[in-house]
Amino acid sequence: MAVCIAVIAKENYPLYIRSIPAEHELKFHYTVHTSLDVVDEKVSAMGKALVDQRELYLGLLYPTEDYKVYGYVTNSKVKFVMVVDSSNTALRDNEIRSMFRKLHNSYTDVMCNPFYNPGDRIHSRAFDNMVTSMMVQVC
């Protein structure tokens, strides 16, 4: 289960950030911000083609002692960043991929909404519900 999910626009400002528990929100904002550098590095093919260039999923960006950060870039250069609790070892790569897939589908639906202006923050309830379902259940 994810602890923080962020959608970053092409110009590197956030369209949507949500994290739980709410008191560490600033720390997660900072983490997501620093992970953008890693995303750019992976995308720019400087890594001698270690990363499969044809995939949208970027994989593990970097691990710290508390959590791991995963990234995903769409073809329109919108980035999804997901922070996952390290203690949750049961989460496999496939599950992360499918979570990003769901995120991408919901984001596409938001884009196709004629009342949504690209570049605004995302306020869609359907998107919120989908993100909630992916977040960890805090009792």
Binding site: R54, T74, N75, S76
Partner: protein
């Protein structure tokens, strides 16, 4: 095909609708062309988002242009681009000899003035490429 005719008629009506609202003073008349272009741009963004969802990541500009000319054009206009030229410095010229949205217009001179309006709307869709 019936559905294609519906879409063409709707598309033409939208363009004339923008111009009618200009006559009624809601919109400044020289902004009309821009407005139609903006409509197309927004439609294009949604379309592109849906289409690129499942395609592999684009490595460079050439990939993007190939995607536009082949996949995107085939899906929207049911044919491929006839000619693509570039000066290798960022300018691309796409040529379509039988642009679907204009084939229904007669080639009399009075219609040539209206053609750019329709064009700009669809052109908006390709400015989306700038985002890519």
């Amino acid at each position: 095909m019936a559905d294609e005719a519906l879409f063409l008629l709707l598309h033409n009506e939208m363009v004339t609708g923008v111009y009618k609202s200009a006559e009624q003073g809601e919109v400044v008349s020289d902004r009309c062309v821009l407005l139609a272009g903006e409509h197309g741009f927004r439609v294009g963004q949604g379309l592109i988002e849906r289409f690129t969802k499942d395609t592999a990541r684009f490595k460079d500009e050439l990939d993007i242009m190939k995607f536009i000319c082949k996949d995107f054009w085939t899906t929207v206009f049911k044919k491929q681009i006839d000619n693509l030229r570039t000066n290798h410095q960022g300018i691309y010229v796409l040529q379509d000899n039988k642009f679907r949205l204009l084939t229904q217009m007669s080639s009399g001179k009075q219609y040539l003035d209206h053609a750019p309006k329709v064009f700009h709307r669809r052109l908006g869709i390709f400015v989306e490429d700038k985002i890519l």
